[in-house]
């Protein structure tokens, strides 16, 4: 069963949103979707760049009330 896990990386400069996402992706199961919450505007470019390079899948990305919600599916 795949599930969506929330990774709350709002207001963090270190380790920062992408580093948090990588950490959780390593522990997730193939097929899981992770939803990253971030208040850092750079995240909206940083995450797809990494996801595409590794070969995971970008599901969606939207800003709701100053918080980015970025969904990524683990594919391998």
């Amino acid at each position: 069963m795949s599930e969506t896990k929330i990774v709350d990386a709002r207001n963090t400069f270190c380790p920062g949103p992408l580093m948090e996402l990588i950490q959780y992706m390593k522990r997730a199961e193939v097929g899981d979707t992770l939803e990253l919450l971030s208040t850092d505007n750079g995240t909206v470019n940083d995450v797809p760049e990494w996801v595409n390079k590794v070969g995971h899948e970008m599901v969606s990305s939207e800003k709701i009330e100053e918080v980015w919600h970025i969904k990524v599916r683990k594919t391998k």
């Binding site: 400069f13 270190c14 580093m19 990588i22 522990r27 760049e49 990494w50 390079k53």
Partner: protein
Amino acid sequence: MRILVVGGGTGGTIVANNLARRLAGEIRSKKAQITMLSASDQHMYQPGLLYVAFGQMMPDELYRDQKSLLEASIEFHVDPVERFELDQNQVRTHSGKTIPYDVLVIATGSRIVPEEVPGLAEGGETFYTEEAAVKMFKALRAFEGGNVGIVVGVPHKCPIAPVEVTFSLHDYFKTRGIRDKVHIKYHYPINRIHTIENVAIWAKPEFDRIGVEYETLFNVDEVDAKNKVVKSMEGTEYAYDLLIYIPPHRGMEVIEQNKLGEGGWIPTDRSQLKMQGYDNVYVVGDTTNLPVSKTGSAAHFEAEVIAENIASNIKIGSAVRDYDGKVYCFIEAGHDRATYAMFNYENPPDLKPPNQPMHWFKMSYNKMYWTSVRGLL
């Protein structure tokens, strides 16, 4: 009021000492009692390991007897916890004791798991344990030239360590007069050379100046120790002669076995530092799941908030402070210059150019640490 602190490292020691002083009257009149359980009778100053790896400190300089660091009123036992029975407000220890509490502080730290990356431990050197730091120093001393690769596991404690070790490697080989025979390449997991943007902005021209090459979006996936090649999840690789790694970490096994948190990281409230779902359980230091650097500095600031709130709860029935995510990190920019980064949840660090006085301040802090964990600084 029985207060139990599990873990006698940076966070646990500061919580216990700070509380012992705040509650001196209550302890004397037997209204409060502080017990600490740890896994070792020794306390290690872990940041010193970086200096051991470059032959600048000896391992025995990093240790003190844990008991000597604690206020006399704290009951201390070396008896690691094996079971956390949070719903019964008790823990069970290795020696078979059941210890009840009214307030629990979990401060068990983190552990390195290089084995999560195939070949990493066999193929590389690191400085995250005493034994490894000594071995790394011997490897550096024997090195006569070639490709040095630095790779970084995720997550890791001390996020400044990757840049510090890189500057130190440059200075070490320069001092030995072989820098021109050494090619240093730094690899980092995300798309800039440090996760803190201002550190990345500062370090990049410094790396350019000292001739350190860098590759970003490099998550170490596998090391072919026989052929000396390190490969990334992103599909790139580097042929090394000497590989230096920052190991990936997890929380302690006991945390995972007791299902307190995935990966050994305990879900923790950001400002009150309580374990989610438990009003009488606090979490401090590396073992929290907070998006805060896993550093002694974060553990220190968290510990002060926890101690103040446990004490104020006893005295006036209310917490008085929130943790704001504060971290203060020295950054060694080689063997004779340093700077620092101070930040919290809301404010990023503003980096100053490195200078020599800051390096000497860090060298003094290496000694002052013992005063700091006693709660005197």
